[in-house]
């Protein structure tokens, strides 16, 4: 076949550009991986991307390899699936949903973690974290970033003003909420327009009322959502959700409140509410959208224990998975499993490491340090966010499944039976497909 003359020119230009970009990137050095390029795809963008790139450049300095970072944002599942189909997979992907790890593993897109990577992982992390990354017993995911979801954030100024003190039990928690309401302060700010806020509430309560074993069974749908343990959890939940005076603006207003607004309600210029149940990343919102300081005005206490339940923690996290099986990939994973990588990001804030050997001193403030100690201290007592483990159609879809049912439950907390039936019906449907 004959090509028109300009084809050659076009090819030359394209090659020139790609060569030039290659040589640009190869600013690395003379480490053992010099000349290798590793591609990482992660959902992080903005500040988080910059922070993660600091971690990656620490790896580059160490090994001489070049790491290309691609941010896929919320579309990460779609991006990965497309790239798997197009056979241009990155070396490493960072995945936030266990369901996606399973899905990718089932379609043979993932490589199991190599023995030398597992060795590093076992050295630094509690067994529970390794299990979170397993699919049917095969380890695929290495958790790099963790989220502690069993926290209640409170405005210390409001607490001091009203004389409230951090509660330890659910009864104390309700008592303090009532006391605050008596003083004319709205106790709980709930950003219930975002369904996951309510699933976090439910998970924390269920883990405490039903215990870790039942929690796991429910997350695998081995017991139905009509189980008495679910009723008990919903009834405990209704003790708070059923009292409009305990919720900022009442249940109806909470359903109109987005998560960021619920944070501003507590830590903004004119605080309207005193407390907010949410994960450690509330701290990031506090720093970005309010003038309050984490560790000063914005402080936390662990989600209260219910009926003498032990220290149980709902966690979530981002796992690194290998999509290629070569030395550079393994080296990067080993680095991500090491305390050094965790400390690199911990110093920058907005980060928790599941790695028990990451020095607590690395965290920037007392509150974050406390949250990290709380997380590591729980050891194997951590349980992964239930709504992230169930099929996404049930656990993470706007207007359906857990999100919608719990929102409806907040609107009508008397309807425990109806909520349970709807949860079970939606769950059955989601597991069916």
């Amino acid at each position: 076949m004959r090509y028109p003359p300009w084809t050659a020119a076009l090819i030359a230009v394209t090659l020139g550009v790609s060569l030039a970009s290659c040589s640009d990137n190869e600013g690395g050095g003379d480490g053992e991986l010099a000349g290798h390029t590793i591609e990482v795809v992660a959902p992080w963008s903005g500040d988080e991307q910059q922070q993660f790139e600091r971690v990656l450049s620490a790896f580059e300095e160490r090994t001489g390899a070049t790491v290309d970072y691609t941010s896929a944002g919320d579309e990460l599942p779609t991006v990965l699936q497309t790239r798997v189909q197009g056979d241009t997979v990155p070396n490493v992907a960072i995945v936030a949903q266990p369901g996606l790890i399973r899905q990718l593993a089932d379609s043979d897109a993932l490589k199991p973690l190599a023995p030398d990577v597992l060795e590093v992982l076992d050295e630094h992390m509690a067994g529970a974290w390794r299990e979170f990354g397993e699919v049917d017993g095969t380890p695929y995911g290495l958790y790099f970033k963790a989220a502690n979801k069993s926290l209640v954030w409170y405005n210390d100024a409001t607490f001091t003003e009203t004389g409230a003190a951090s509660p330890h039990t659910w009864e104390e928690f309700l008592e303090i909420s009532n006391g605050l309401a008596d003083m004319g302060v709205e106790p709980q700010s709930i950003g219930a327009a975002d369904g996951w806020v309510l699933t976090d509430w439910f998970e924390n309560i269920y883990l405490r009322t039903a215990g870790p074993e039942m929690y796991e069974k429910l997350s695998r749908h081995e017991i139905p959502w009509t189980d008495p343990s679910v009723r008990e959890a919903l009834e405990v939940m209704a003790e708070l959700f059923g009292e409009d005076r305990l919720i900022a603006g009442g249940g109806g207003t909470a359903l109109q409140t987005d998560f960021p607004d619920s944070v501003i309600n507590v830590f903004g210029e004119e605080p309207e509410a005193a407390m907010l149940t949410g994960a450690d990343f509330v701290g990031t919102v506090v720093s970005e959208s309010t003038n309050a300081d984490v560790g000063d005005t914005a402080r936390t206490f662990p989600f209260p224990s219910i009926g003498g339940s032990g220290d149980s923690l709902v966690v979530a996290g981002d796992a690194a998975v290998a999509m290629k099986d070569d030395k550079p990939t393994r080296e990067l994973l080993k680095f991500l499993a090491s305390p050094e990588a965790g400390e690199e990001w911990a110093e920058l804030g907005g980060f928790l490491s599941p790695n028990q050997n990451v020095s607590f001193d690395a965290y920037p403030d007392e509150t974050t340090r406390g949250i990290a100690k709380h997380l590591i201290g729980a050891g194997d007592g951590v349980r992964f966010d239930l709504s992230d483990q169930v099929p996404a159609a049930f656990g993470a879809t706007n207007g359906a499944g857990m999100w919608k049912t719990l929102q409806d439950f907040l609107a009508d907390p008397d309807d425990v039976d109806g909520a349970m039936e709807r949860l079970e019906a939606d769950a059955a449907k989601a597991y069916d497909t």
Partner: protein
């Protein structure tokens, strides 16, 4: 900007020239050269339109993974799923209401602005929203309709109008300390026990910020009993580390709270509390009385409507779409208006027609074809409405505000990722657009012949 106008522009000129002889001759047998020039367009058309359409159609018969043939399974689950049915119903409401309203408003505004001095400037202003992306407008309207009057301008307006006519309560949302002394009843908070002359009644309230008490409030005090008077105090029983149902240091009375003495359901005497919360009901006469704190002092402030709640959400989103699209309709219709033969209007006026009759009997019929174009274009636009619903509806009411296009996106690319079902929804959308398209094509044909 120039708009191609179907019939009015023709009627404007010589009516016989509308059917020019060259019309048919221009489109003869396509030559090879013509085909060659058409090729790139045809190729793009095939790649970006024909292939995806056929693929979506085929894909709709397969399951989520794309491996298993499920026949009409996706269509069955589509029409048995409550969410999808809501989406279909809402899309129906949109199609019925929105295009007609926008066309109507566009017509009214176009006719009204025709004779004013700054018509162009005015129309430009109304056209402005079209220059903003739907997504950005959505964010604006999300804020406009925010429930909190501090943030949402609509509720801020509603509240200030409301407050102009009714004064707000002095102690909104203050509540009795517990059921033992005061109960929440019709008309206010009523004591559970009865009292008689000479008694002193302590009435504790909570749920109000001590810092928000009126400045003249003083430390709460209990009055001395007096023979023929029923006395007592109303105070805010909320203080740092204070005991319940007891007046602690630092707890203040609640001035001006209305206290009523009730006997057999009848209010027999009324007084109000002083700065230290004390009140006195003199000369009641012998007998048992209940005390009631009048409801009006504690009514929650009016906070406006929950615009973005499940009941109002679709009308609210439609209203914002109207705001955006009216400019579009005005521009088209105004252009059409300017092409209407003045003589026809003048003739009607000379014949003694009123302005309303001119509008109804002359302007509208002459604009008819154009109005139809605008209406049909808007209808297609409405069927694919997505971004406004996505942005304006809070997560908790997205199910109630759902429309087919949004449901399709959520099902195929949202957390679920079922592109089989998503394709089925797309096919449904296509089937809904098809009749409108066919209608459009037929109309074009008719006009040409």
């Amino acid at each position: 900007m120039k708009f191609r106008l179907p019939s009015p522009s023709r009627t404007a000129g010589d009516p016989t020239s509308a059917r020019g002889p060259q019309d048919g001759a221009r489109f003869g047998e396509p030559s090879r050269t013509a085909l060659l020039f058409l090729l790139p367009a045809a190729l793009l058309f095939a790649v970006f339109l024909v292939y995806p359409t056929i693929y979506s159609f085929v894909r709709s018969f397969f399951d989520a993974s794309g491996d298993e043939f499920v026949g009409l399974g996706n269509y069955v689950s589509m029409f048995t799923d409550a969410r999808t049915l809501t989406a279909i119903r809402n899309t129906g409401i949109w199609v019925l209401v929105a295009p007609a309203l926008v066309t109507g408003l566009g017509l009214v505004f176009a006719v009204l602005t025709e004779r004013i001095r700054w018509a162009t400037a005015f129309r430009l202003l109304l056209f402005m929203p079209m220059a903003i992306s739907l997504f950005a407008s959505g964010i604006i309207f999300r804020l406009v309709y925010e429930e909190d009057p501090e943030r949402g301008i609509v509720n801020a307006a509603v509240v200030s109008v409301h407050d102009m006519f009714t004064s707000s309560a002095e102690y909104p949302e203050a509540l009795p300390r517990d059921d033992d002394t005061l109960e929440v009843t019709e008309g206010g908070y009523t004591t559970s026990a009865t009292y008689e002359q000479g008694d002193v009644v302590e009435l504790p309230l909570v749920g109000f910020k001590p810092g928000d008490l009126p400045s003249q409030a003083e430390a709460a005090a209990v009055p001395e009993p007096a023979g023929n008077e029923l006395r007592g105090t109303v105070w805010l029983d909320a203080s740092f580390g204070g005991a319940e149902n007891r007046i602690d240091p630092g707890e203040n009375g609640m001035p001006r709270v209305t206290v009523e003495a009730v006997r057999d359901g009848q209010v027999v005497a009324t007084t109000s509390a002083g700065n230290d919360g004390r009140f006195t009901l003199p000369d009641l006469g012998a007998g048992e009385y209940r005390l009631r704190l009048a409801e009006s002092d504690f009514e929650a402030p009016f906070r406006g409507l929950t615009w973005l709640g499940s009941s109002l959400i679709t009308p609210v989103i439609i209203s914002s779409w109207i705001w955006i699209m009216t400019g579009f309709a005005i521009t088209f219709i105004a252009a059409g208006l300017s092409a209407i033969p003045r003589e026809a209007l003048e003739a009607a006026r000379v014949d003694g027609a009123t302005e309303w009759q001119v509008f109804r009997k002359v302007t509208v019929p002459l604009l008819g074809p154009l109005l139809l174009v605008v209406f049909v274009t808007l209808m297609i636009n409405v069927l694919k409405i997505f971004d406004l619903v996505f942005v304006i509806a809070p997560g908790s009411v997205q199910a109630e505000a759902n429309v087919i296009a949004l449901q399709m996106w959520q099902v195929s690319f949202g957390a679920g990722g079922n592109q089989g079902l998503g394709s089925a929804l797309v096919v449904l959308l296509l089937l809904l657009v098809l009749p409108i398209m066919l209608f459009n094509i037929r109309r074009f044909r008719r006009e040409r012949s």
